[in-house]
Symmetry: C2
Subunit: 247 residues, 2 copies
Amino acid sequence: MSSSGSPVALAEIGALLGDPARANMLLALIAGRPLTAGELAWSARVTAQTASGHLARLTEAGLLAVERQGRHRYYRLASPLVAQMLEGMQVVASLQSPPRYRPASRIDDALKAGRTCYDHLAGRLGVAIADAMVARGQVVLTGDGGAATPDGEAFLQHFQVEASTRPGQKRCFCRPCLDWSERRPHIAGALGAGLARRCFDLGWIQRVKDSRAVTITQAGRKGLQEAFGIGPDDLVVRPDLPLRKAG
Amino acid sequence: MSSSGSPVALAEIGALLGDPARANMLLALIAGRPLTAGELAWSARVTAQTASGHLARLTEAGLLAVERQGRHRYYRLASPLVAQMLEGMQVVASLQSPPRYRPASRIDDALKAGRTCYDHLAGRLGVAIADAMVARGQVVLTGDGGAATPDGEAFLQHFQVEASTRPGQKRCFCRPCLDWSERRPHIAGALGAGLARRCFDLGWIQRVKDSRAVTITQAGRKGLQEAFGIGPDDLVVRPDLPLRKAG
DNA sequence: CGGACGCTTCGGTCGCGGCCGAAGCGATCC
DNA sequence: GGATCGCTTCGGCCGCGACCGAAGCGTCCG
């Protein structure tokens, strides 16, 4: 009854995300692969009946979409906007007070290692490429923009990246995109998309079925080393924060 | 304990935003003006002692920053990222199930009418400008990019917008930015910033003190009509959704 | 110095909502 | 057909946390 947009609605979304079980379910779905109610119950560490209630609420709120298939029900995020919202919250969450628990991550190490972010690369791989190009003076990234240097344009031509390098057209050529898992920017825009496409075309990376994760092939390791100077060390997924004691 | 980034952290952020009182406080602060604990208590419709507890939690979580000034304590959002996160959630919230209550908004009508979004214009005004330029074939907007047409570049030169129109440099020249109050895109990037700056320089719009809201001057109404063909009707702030019954 | 004011801390009440066991329902398999 | 499986609904328990009254603390004023 008081302030802006829709105070009630915001609180409702917040309350929905405020329960650990529901948060776990949503995070499990952020990878893009539809999951059954049972799988989501497992990943939220609750019984099937509890999960069922949560899923009903999330679906009714429009955050999830559901599809029946035989005796299974497959749930997925209702829209990319939901994924985007979750990533925005993760960014803020990761800025929070220091260490904390450090819940060991598992399946999503694949996503941290490398994934697509719509049409460009993110995760450890995406950030490594961005770092390499910046370090070599091929690309400049600012707070909310970026550009290729003459050196960079030459490299792109040689690397055969297709991205209307003569910009001013169609879409943003180069901009930073904050990476929630690395907490540092990777390259988005036409340049990011062109780089990603070229890596796929060269067979350096492959999509994981039904997921946004990508894996680096043997050829990819060699190629990334030669083209960008990215070595195995640059592709190691580090834990969220350094451990106090070794595990 | 299961999936990605930081499941616990996400749930904590969600729980923080899940309480109507806290959501109201954050929304009251999204305008950018620091508010005292008492003002926030009022806008959340709770007593001072209840508000105090909420504010302590929000501050300790790193969402708010506080500054003592005499016997007052001024609270503000700790970072633009927090505002961004809230706007992202509002976008999702506004996509939710149909009408709902429609809590009458008041003070924030000013924000809906026109505001700055970092360095460019948003709200009804920002969207009206974007619509006008698109309709006149001066600008093309795509899902995540955009560009000026030759006609558009001529207009910008005539309108004396300073924005390294020869792009490829520094920052993204033109991209759409989803407007939570209008639910449609306005123009961001160097072009958006240049347009905003020019409107300020011409005295067409003025910043509201300590707020992101902007007001349109008398000269502005005339100028917007002449330069963009934006009439009074285009600047009317419509209710969140059309009313069922007229009020 | 006393009093008003802004804000926080403490203590106790109470209701919302998460949880699971048991039961119900539909689909699948043999 | 019966057995099994995936999921949902129902009912009851229980704990967390939002709320306010009262009291405490620091600041400003006359």
